[in-house]
């Protein structure tokens, strides 16, 4: 008992070590940063705030625990339809895990990797850590790792997955805009939702304002939760495509060569893929003529590539081993109704 108290006392003394954020070489162990009071439970330290996105990127059904750290007395400027202009010293922390917490699950949770985007000298740097078997520490990863494992899905089924921790370069594939590394998720339009904080539920942007990070009353059009069936089908589909595809399929992104632009704001039909011929698609065209044929999901290359599990065909190019069946259903319905 005394021992436990002692540990608790020690734990509460953990704080974020800013000098490690600024240092050139990332530390070997994730715990060194001091982002977490309790590594395994992912309990954040003081000043590290959990957050969530309205529509997240699909990563083989992995659960994602997101946290943000902004140095004291610093602010993030709002940029319309873009990621906040975060100050130096900001760390975006994302742990990928199979929590296996659906009903009747007797499979224990598995922390897979924690990715950091750190801002220093006005540039973002990406670092990632892979969790050990004891699940109490994560170690610096360079070349990534393949984790063959199983998880329990929301229907209670055990699913095999070849989960791939991306290497540093693969992180950049998605996180690059005009040759610079950039975060994808934390745009105001994707944060405007409530979150269950320890002290209760609150809108994230209001909370961030109360933290002194962002200004109040941002005038934004929010993204739609793609799973929210009460919302407009087009908004849901566009929201899904935006967060899952548009980091590459955007001007300055790694797939802009294709001319297929899937950003939420894109309004040109050809750019969106409607009756757009493939450019460098190769066999991934599946003998189909257009990215999207309105009314005909089965004739649309876009949907075919979302369904494929072949690395030379599938979209996104990396970060997916399984088909995202719920999303395929949504996009199929959307194309049918175009």
């Amino acid at each position: 008992m005394l021992c436990l108290l002692f540990f608790n006392y020690l734990d509460s003394s953990i704080y974020v070590k800013e000098d490690l954020i600024y240092q050139d070489k990332p530390p070997k162990k994730l715990s060194e940063y001091g982002f977490f009071q309790d590594m395994n439970n992912q309990t954040p330290s003081d000043g590290v705030l959990p957050y969530d996105l309205i529509s997240p990127l699909f990563s083989d059904y992995a659960d994602k625990l997101r946290f943000i750290y902004i140095p004291e007395n610093k602010t993030a400027a709002y940029r319309h339809n873009k990621v906040f202009d975060f100050p130096n010293g900001t760390a975006l922390i994302k742990t990928f895990a199979y929590l296996n917490n659906y009903q009747n699950s007797n499979t224990s949770k598995q922390l897979l990797e924690t990715r950091l985007l750190i801002k220093k000298s006005n540039e973002w740097v990406n670092v990632s850590y892979i969790w050990n078997d004891d699940q109490n520490e994560a170690f610096l990863s360079i070349a990534g790792k393949t984790i063959s494992t199983k998880f329990i899905n929301e229907y209670g089924n055990l699913v095999d997955v070849r989960y791939r921790v991306p290497n540093i370069n693969q992180c950049k594939e998605c996180h690059t805009s005009n040759k610079k590394i950039t975060p994808i998720g934390p745009k105001a339009r994707n944060l405007n939702k409530s979150f269950n904080y320890i002290e209760g539920s609150k809108n994230q942007l209001i909370k961030w304002h109360q933290m002194g990070w962002v200004e109040n009353n941002l005038n934004i059009k929010s993204m739609v939760d793609w799973q929210d069936e009460s919302k407009d089908l087009n908004d849901r589909a566009r929201s899904y495509l935006d967060i899952n595809c548009a980091h590459c399929h955007i001007d300055g992104g790694s797939a802009d060569t294709s001319g297929l632009i899937l950003d939420y704001l894109e309004s040109n039909k050809i750019n969106l893929g409607i009756y757009k011929k493939p450019v460098a698609t190769g066999r991934a065209s599946n003998n189909l003529r257009y990215s999207i044929v309105p009314g005909k999901p089965d004739e649309s290359i876009l949907l075919y590539r979302m369904q494929s599990l072949d690395p030379g065909i599938m979209m996104p190019e990396s970060g997916r081993f399984l088909e995202h069946t719920e999303a395929v259903e949504l996009i199929s319905k959307w194309i049918k109704n175009l």
Partner: protein, 408 residues
């Protein structure tokens, strides 16, 4: 003398610093070659050499380079082999996104998607690199072998590309390009320059592809209006492999047995090539054949010059199954296929008022080459025969295009 010494000292310093800052990391075959190679490619400093020694390396994931001025070097294009036959993830064999990289003396085999993709870089050299799908032509092969795109200063020298289901050597949306001394075989398109500016394609050998050398321009992509392409001293022969491109791709329209196709583009000079033994046609100069709403796009070829090529017999067994080109030509030529074909399609304004001189097709001496074009006015009036075969109508003075130079 003092000046000379100073200069000497200075270059000596550069010499020294070159050696103290650039290091070579050597990789040998091991149980986990992916991790070893990829870690080396990530941890290297700009200017370093990552040397993969002779061996057969089985890789399950795609490799990538994002360090400037790195050299990835093997022991020879038949000695250091990166095999992606068992690839589980990643869309390419190897991808490069940093400037000034040199790839040399290795092979990438059986990638699930493109073999080597290089995107958005300033300076890339492929030297004695081979990309191959080892099972031969198959629509399940990856699209491109050597695939630089949106790049500037592209050198492809003494490379080999085999079995791509689109193009073996494909340079897209790029600027300042040299493709030389290379061999492309059993691809749908041997060598393709697409939506690019300033390319020299010379001393290459394109054989047994569906189409040997293609210079294309397509709408609805960021860079278009391809121009200034010289195709010279190449051999484009016996390109008679059935088209195995998956449908939907523009090269799926290329008929078996095509030597060179120029589609859209301006200022293209084709000279001193050996072209022959192609079942459909040796050279075709054509308009982009689809409707497009892209207002910036110009679908017609302009200022094309063809001279001093050596032709041998072609068109003996035209591919009437693939695309429209061969079928139309076969009918119009009354089964007597020409060496050089221009579809004659012009914008309406030019059909009526004539084509400006500086946009006209010019034919120089091409031995005994035969020619065929279609007169668009006669084509619209069914009482006339629209076919024109008089070579001399297009004879003119050649204005050589400048040599490609790399720029800063």
């Amino acid at each position: 003398m003092i000046k000379f010494l100073k200069l000497f000292n200075f270059s000596f310093l550069i010499f020294i610093s070159f050696f103290s800052y650039s290091k070579t990391i050597t990789i040998y075959p091991s149980a986990d070659p992916y991790t070893e190679i990829q870690e080396a490619l990530i941890l290297a400093n700009p200017g370093d050499i990552v040397h993969i020694s002779e061996g057969f390396y089985k890789l399950e994931d795609s490799l990538s380079i994002d360090i400037d001025n790195l050299t990835l070097q093997g022991d020879g294009l038949n000695k250091t082999i990166l095999s992606f036959k068992d690839q589980m993830s990643g869309a390419q064999g190897l991808s490069v996104t940093s400037d000034g990289v040199t790839l040399q003396d290795f092979a990438v085999e059986d990638a699930k998607g493109d073999a080597i993709k290089v995107k958005g870089v300033h300076g890339i050299s492929f030297i004695r690199v081979r990309t191959e799908w080892t099972n031969g032509p198959d629509e399940l092969n990856g699209a491109y072998g050597l695939y630089p795109v949106e790049s500037k200063n592209v050198l492809i020298d003494s490379c080999v590309a085999i079995g791509a289901s689109d193009a073996g050597i494909y340079v897209g949306q790029s600027e300042n390009i040299i493709v030389k001394n290379s061999r492309a075989e059993f691809n749908v398109a041997g060598i393709e320059i697409e939506n690019s500016y300033y390319a020299d394609v010379f001393d290459n050998h394109a054989e047994n592809n569906t189409g040997g050398i293609l210079v294309f321009d397509l709408p609805d992509i960021p860079q278009q209006g391809g121009h200034h392409v010289r195709v010279f001293r190449n051999k484009s022969i016996n390109n008679n492999t059935d088209n195995f491109a998956p449908e939907g791709n523009i090269v799926g329209e290329v008929p078996r047995g095509t030597g060179i196709i120029i589609q859209a583009n301006s200022h293209v000079e084709i000279f001193e090539n050996d072209i022959g033994g192609n079942d459909t046609v040796n050279i075709a100069i054509v308009t982009y054949g689809y409707e497009t709403e892209d207002k910036n796009y110009y679908p017609h070829p302009r200022a094309i010059q063809v001279h001093n090529n050596r032709f041998t017999k072609s068109g003996n067994n035209p591919d009437l199954e693939t695309g429209e080109l061969a079928k139309i030509l076969y009918e119009l030529s009354d089964k007597n296929m020409p060496d050089i074909f221009w579809d004659g399609i012009l914008p309406m304004k030019q059909i009526i008022f004539g084509q400006p001189d500086n946009e006209k097709l010019i034919l120089g001496n091409n031995g005994s080459a035969t020619f065929l074009t279609i007169n668009p006015i006669k084509y619209m009036l069914p009482i006339f025969n629209p076919v024109e075969r008089d070579y001399d109508n297009y004879r003119g003075t050649i204005t050589p295009l400048p040599e490609v130079k790399f720029s800063d």
